[in-house]
């Protein structure tokens, strides 16, 4: 179905490539419409084709003392566990962390890129970039690649002049400010434990334990999450890694094996 796009043609004459120096406001923008059979639905199909599920559990929440960030460390390709020791909490700079969910390469690259941009901002403006600013930079970059197959579901956690900051940013171009987030296939399970145990005025140890337990429970039920539960704390002096516990060991810590009482014991029958 060929649409009538004459209404989209711009009326102003276009004098070759408008020079940035000569005029900031040249011809009105016009765009070409793609040649497809299903104009309204083709984009959705394309997205579904490239959208891999984000097999992971990451979470972060703000509390009185700062921000707590935790994640598992399993990488899976379908049913195959490709690694149990992936670093899913990325250190953007000494006072900002990013979490990885989705495509590992995409997350690692763009977080690294964000770290570069934050450093350049510091050098140019002689002050650190805010968490708001950093998350916005990332969100704008991801938005410009929208529909091209990037898979990033990340949380930017940090401490700046205005206190603790936490933003969720994804490859659809969404960006949300919030107090608690969990991202990944194990997030429903993590949310259950997190929402149940959350109080704003927890101590750092209590918050770390809550984060650890939430990741553990997610890894227990979700096949795509597992490995090591890492817990980081972001405070006024920057981030600090608090713990990295194997979730198998955590399981036996939380649910130690009870020797069960036996009613009858089998007795060796002597003789032939």
């Amino acid at each position: 179905m060929k649409l009538d796009t004459s209404g989209l043609e711009s009326a102003a004459p276009v004098w070759g490539a408008p020079s940035e120096l000569v005029d900031g406001f040249s011809a009105a923008p016009s765009f070409e419409v793609p040649n497809t059979t299903d104009f309204d639905g083709f984009q959705k199909e394309a997205i579904q084709m490239v959208k891999p599920a984000k097999g992971t559990t990451t979470l972060a929440f703000i509390f009185k003392e700062g921000v707590m960030v935790a994640a598992d460390s399993r990488a899976s390709m379908g049913g195959y566990i490709s690694s149990q020791s992936v670093k899913k909490i990325i250190e953007i700079n000494p006072y900002m962390l990013g979490t990885m969910a989705g495509g590992a390469a995409d997350c690692q690259f763009w977080h690294r890129n964000l770290g570069i941009k934050c450093r350049l901002h510091e050098l140019a403006n002689k002050r650190r970039i805010s968490v708001t600013g950093a998350s916005k930079l990332l969100a704008n970059i991801l938005y410009s690649y929208r529909g091209m197959g990037l898979s990033v579901g990340t949380m930017i956690a940090g401490w700046d002049e205005t206190g603790p900051g936490l933003y969720y940013v994804d490859s659809e171009g969404g960006r949300l400010k919030g107090m608690h987030f969990s991202v990944g296939s194990g997030s429903p399970y993590a949310y259950g434990v997190l929402d149940n145990g959350y109080r704003y005025d927890m101590s750092v140890e209590e918050a770390a334990e809550l984060a650890r337990r939430s990741i553990y429970h997610a890894t227990f039920r979700d096949g795509a999450s597992g490995g090591v539960a890492s817990v980081y704390y972001v405070g006024p002096n920057g981030w600090k890694k608090l713990s990295g516990d194997d979730v198998g060991e955590l399981h036996y810590e939380y649910y130690p094996v009870m020797p069960s009482t036996v009613e009858q014991e089998m007795v060796e029958v002597g003789g032939a």
Partner: protein, 248 residues
């Protein structure tokens, strides 16, 4: 020398960019502008050439704001100023959009100076013929600042400065009489400096005051009142100078 001043992109053998220097000449012919920084306030004053009878003086605002917390005054080609101001205003909003923060005074000054520099290193264009005085308060820290840019694209921060006609005499006056002031004292200092080279009266100067709350243009009556105060103080010091010898 004639061979080296046609194009902006040509250095002279002794290292001058003549077009930039000619642009500075244009600034020197422009109306005087002065800026003074206080502890909690920054004041901008600009000389106003007497308005033609039929001209609506309200349309000729010489001190403009770039954002709620940043204002700009300039000396030189006013038409060039309009272009620079528009680009700066867009950049202020663009910054708010990308980092969700208002610009700092230093940032927007750096942007304007960068723009002025770009036009000294491109083919087929000429430099902007104006120097700007940019004042404002940094968001969050609330520190007042005064910056100056010029056609070459350099910029620096100042406690007090002047540009345009007779800027050297104004700057000399400021160097002699500057001290840390606040509030109305800063306004008086700025007007005193401007009145060194401008005929006294609210009709001939435009003054705007930037505080944490924002930009406020002083109206003629206020300026007249302050100018009268300054006159009275001047006369008092003159009289005091003459009096003591007699008392002895």
């Amino acid at each position: 020398m004639a061979r080296y001043d046609r194009a902006i992109t040509v250095f002279s053998p002794d290292g001058h960019l003549f077009q930039v220097e000619y642009a500075l000449e244009a600034v020197r012919k422009g109306n005087a502008a002065v800026g003074v920084r206080g502890t909690d306030i920054v004041v901008l004053g600009v000389e106003k050439k007497s308005a033609a009878k039929l001209q609506d003086s309200r349309s000729v605002r010489k001190i403009v704001n770039l954002d709620d917390h940043i204002a700009l005054a300039c000396a030189g080609l006013k038409a060039d100023a309009r272009v620079l101001i528009n680009r700066a205003r867009i950049e202020c909003q663009s910054h708010r959009l990308t980092v969700e923060d208002p610009v700092t005074v230093e940032y927007i000054t750096r942007y304007i100076a960068g723009l002025q520099q770009k036009y000294t290193q491109s083919g087929g264009v000429r430099p902007f013929g104006l120097s700007t005085l940019i004042v404002g308060f940094d968001p969050y820290s609330g520190v007042p600042s005064l910056y100056q840019t010029d056609p070459s694209g350099t910029f620096s921060a100042w406690k007090a400065n002047a540009t345009g006609r007779n800027s050297n005499s104004i700057r000399e006056f400021l160097e002699k009489n500057y001290k840390e002031t606040s509030g109305q004292e800063t306004v008086k200092l700025a007007i005193r400096a401007l009145l060194e080279v401008v005929e006294s009266g609210g009709k001939n100067i435009e003054v705007a005051v930037m505080t944490k709350e924002g930009l406020r243009q002083l109206d003629e009556a206020e300026i007249d009142a302050i100018a009268a105060e300054i006159e009275a103080e001047k006369e008092a010091t003159e009289a005091a100078k003459k009096a003591p010898p007699k008392e002895k």
